[in-house]
Subunit: 124 residues, 2 copies
DNA sequence: TTCTTATTTAAGCAAATACTAAAATAATAA
DNA sequence: TTATTATTTTAGTATTTGCTTAAATAAGAA
């Protein structure tokens, strides 16, 4: 930081201090939330999340076939989302099924609705 | 793609084809949405968005001071979000004020509520 | 036990991202 | 006009991310 003396003459010092307090109070929350959103902000992972929302559960192999991508690449995406609690797993013999955690299913619903709406529009 | 013949014996072919169709129909929508979410999925930008949600409008200089970051770095973040229509600008003499576009204010509201709730919790 | 199927993990690399520093633009004041 | 203030843009660099390939793990079948 070279130059944080840029503060405008007309700057609202009270406002700036209030904001600084907010940022320092919520710092970890910002990081945690941003990290979760960055996982959703990737088109491969967004597709996976939406497909799991629609189909309830899918395995790596299904997703690899659907998305036309390497199983390893998909597996690595799934791991990230599982580690961040976006996904649950359930084993059925050799097959591991992934599903959306209920919390993220709710939180991401507005985005899934956008996708649903677009789907209808494009089908007409 | 070396090996997309991984398909399980028990794979639900109908399900997989339905999913493939969904993905191909919505492909651009996925990309567009993911791109928007990737902008929100960065803690600096999430902070900026939340501060604009709370304060209605702020300039680069305010944000630079609040976040303790280089003006140039903030300006580059703001540009990305303006280009993707997350932000509006309004000039007041030499100062350029940024604000949230109404659409994204609504769409991001559930996340801002999480932040609001955490703020209250930590203040108690 | 060995073989097959399903999946994960590790290593390596290319592309994307975020930041710094310096130069450029733009509006106002002297 | 020149100087000041507010901001953006460009170029360079370090870090992060996403994918490929190959090796490792894990469960069931022969």
């Amino acid at each position: 930081m070279e130059n944080n003396s840029c503060i405008r003459q007309q700057a609202d010092i009270k406002q700036i201090n209030r904001c600084k307090e907010t940022v320092s109070e919520l710092n970890e929350t910002f990081d945690y939330l941003a990290n979760g959103l960055s996982l959703v902000g990737n088109s491969v992972r967004l597709k996976i999340l939406y497909l799991l929302f629609e189909e309830k559960r899918l395995c790596v192999c299904d997703l690899s076939d659907i998305l036309g991508m390497n199983i390893s690449a998909i597996s690595q995406h799934l791991r990230k989302m599982k580690d961040r609690n976006l996904l649950d797993t359930e084993r059925d013999a050799q097959t591991i099924f992934y599903s959306l955690t209920p919390e993220y299913s709710i939180l991401l619903n507005p985005f899934f609705e956008i996708l649903d709406k677009n789907k209808v529009l494009e089908t007409i």
